[in-house]
């Protein structure tokens, strides 16, 4: 039974993809359109920042896991130092991840950050420090996710390489042993 459709045909987790995009788009749209409808900065600030925070949580905890099989967080160990932990699914599952899902995941988080940078530049040009605050908060949240997941992916690749070399090395050594024992 083939659970995953052939890669490139369909999203494997449409609901997750939807939510992944939903909060980002909602935050951006609300920020851009709100100036037309609302006079009060407070509402714009709170709603945009809450949407951005929800998006951060969804990406970090839900869509990162389900779409690309990665996760990162920070812990403080017994010596009181902060340690960044990265986690990934094992290699078979990673290979089975839908290509379209991960394409969507990575592109939307990059595009989101770029969009916020543009909006920030606009608000700086228009001398609106309040709005720079909003943009600053949203931008820092998206950059945090980008950095976290990129490091996690690099770490995952490193781990897989290490694992592969170890397996190959151990098999190689046992094959050598067997070769010598036969002789």
């Amino acid at each position: 039974m083939d659970l995953n459709q052939p890669a490139g045909e369909n999203y494997a987790n449409p609901k997750t993809c939807f939510f992944h995009v939903l909060f980002k788009a909602a935050a951006l749209a609300f920020y851009i359109l709100s100036a037309l409808f609302f006079d009060s900065f407070v509402i714009i600030f709170v709603v945009t920042v809450v949407l951005a925070a929800l998006d951060f949580w969804v990406v970090k905890n839900v869509s990162g896991r389900i779409l690309v099989g990665l996760r990162w967080w920070n812990e403080i160990n017994d010596q009181g130092e902060s340690v960044w932990k990265f986690e990934c699914l094992d290699q078979e599952s990673l290979a089975r991840m839908n290509k379209k899902d991960s394409w969507l995941f990575w592109w939307t988080i990059y595009l989101n950050a770029v969009a916020w940078i543009f909006l920030g530049i606009f608000s700086i040009i228009r001398f609106e420090p309040d709005y720079v605050l909003v943009v600053g908060v949203c931008l820092s949240l998206s950059i945090a996710n980008i950095v976290g997941f990129t490091r996690c992916r690099k770490d995952a690749k490193k781990q897989i390489q290490q694992f592969a070399t170890q397996t190959i090395a151990s098999r190689f050594s046992s094959t050598l042993q067997s070769a010598f024992s036969v002789v």
Binding site: M1, L3, N13, K15, T16, S40, F41, V42, F45, V46, V49, V50, A53, W57, N61, V62, R65, I66, G69, R71, N74, E75, I76, N77, D78, G80, E81, S82, K85, F86, E87, C88, L89, D90, Q91, E92, S93, D130, L133, D155, A156, Q159, I160, Q162, F163, Q166, T167, S170, R171, S174, T175, Q177, S178, S181, V182
Partner: protein, 282 residues
């Protein structure tokens, strides 16, 4: 291995490598062919079904996995990672043969509702540790081990909203000022401690200063509801003292004892200014 809708947990690499080596060695040994039995089916390594609709709580077959995520270090290492000995590691681990990988992969495949519950319970426990009297205050480093920034975020926004609501004019500016003051203040206070040579972790301290705003939140709420000046002054003084008492052990233990006052004074100053903001709003 065929799985219908399960993602297998990552098997313990060490045991797999051992098995592979055993098989290779056994097959190469000359003499009476001792054929190993076929590899037994994997012990129940908790193939947790991944719910395709992530927002529905799925029934996890092994509920003992749902515990606070004391997750050991990273995944496909050949050496089973050492289990961290931190305060929220729970008692029994299900004996499945894979030492650390059980709970670890579980956080990758757990349903969303579990993540939400875990985060919410973390906020509540952090709040209790910081603001209310409890035995862990003696060792501040351990207390806020699991820092998180959601609690502080809620409290700062709540305080800003309350102040803005109480203000009769210039509501937007009040909110923006309150938010910027608290956020920038927390960052600057943390930098202050770091520059004084203290040992504190940036996010931990931000988290702490945010949680210590909880009493002031309560005070602002009361002041919003009851508009009498005398009541306001009393309430603000009480909550201010409570906030400072909450922040004191963490800040003071982070720096050299001779510099304690230098680290604590700006904290008190910030909370006093927030208190004045609460009283002065009308």
């Amino acid at each position: 291995m065929s799985h219908s809708d399960t993602i297998p947990l990552h098997p313990s690499s060490q045991s797999d490598i051992d098995e592979i080596e055993n098989l290779i060695n056994a097959s190469v040994q000359s003499g009476p062919a001792t054929v190993l039995p076929a590899r037994p089916p994997s012990p129940p390594r908790a193939s947790i079904p991944v719910s395709s609709t992530p927002f529905i709580q799925s029934n996890i077959p092994l509920p003992t996995y749902n515990k606070p995520p004391v997750v050991p270090a990273v995944v496909p290492a050949a050496v089973p990672p050492p289990l961290p000995n931190s305060s929220n590691s729970s008692s029994t681990r299900p004996s499945i043969g894979t030492s650390g990988f059980g709970s670890q992969a579980n956080t990758l495949t757990e349903p969303v509702w579990d993540t939400v519950k875990r985060d919410l319970s973390r906020i509540v426990s952090n709040l209790k540790l910081v603001v209310f009297p409890n035995p862990y205050r003696e060792d501040p480093g351990k207390a806020l081990r699991d820092w998180d920034l959601w609690g502080p975020f809620f409290f700062i926004v709540f305080l800003g909203l309350t102040l803005s609501w109480s203000a009769s004019v210039k509501k937007s500016e009040v909110f923006a000022v309150a938010f910027a003051l608290l956020a920038a203040g927390a960052i600057i206070l943390t930098l202050n401690v770091l520059l004084l040579g203290g040992h504190i972790i940036f996010f931990q301290s931000l988290s702490l200063l945010g949680y210590c705003l909880f009493p002031l939140d309560v005070g602002a709420l009361i002041c919003m509801l009851k508009d009498n000046v005398i009541v306001k002054v009393i309430v603000v003084c009480v909550t201010l003292a409570w906030s400072s008492w909450a922040a004191y052990p963490f800040m003071s233990s982070a720096v050299n004892p001779r510099r304690k006052a230098l680290a604590l004074y700006p904290v008190l100053l910030m909370y006093v200014s927030v208190g004045f903001l609460i009283i002065a709003i009308d």
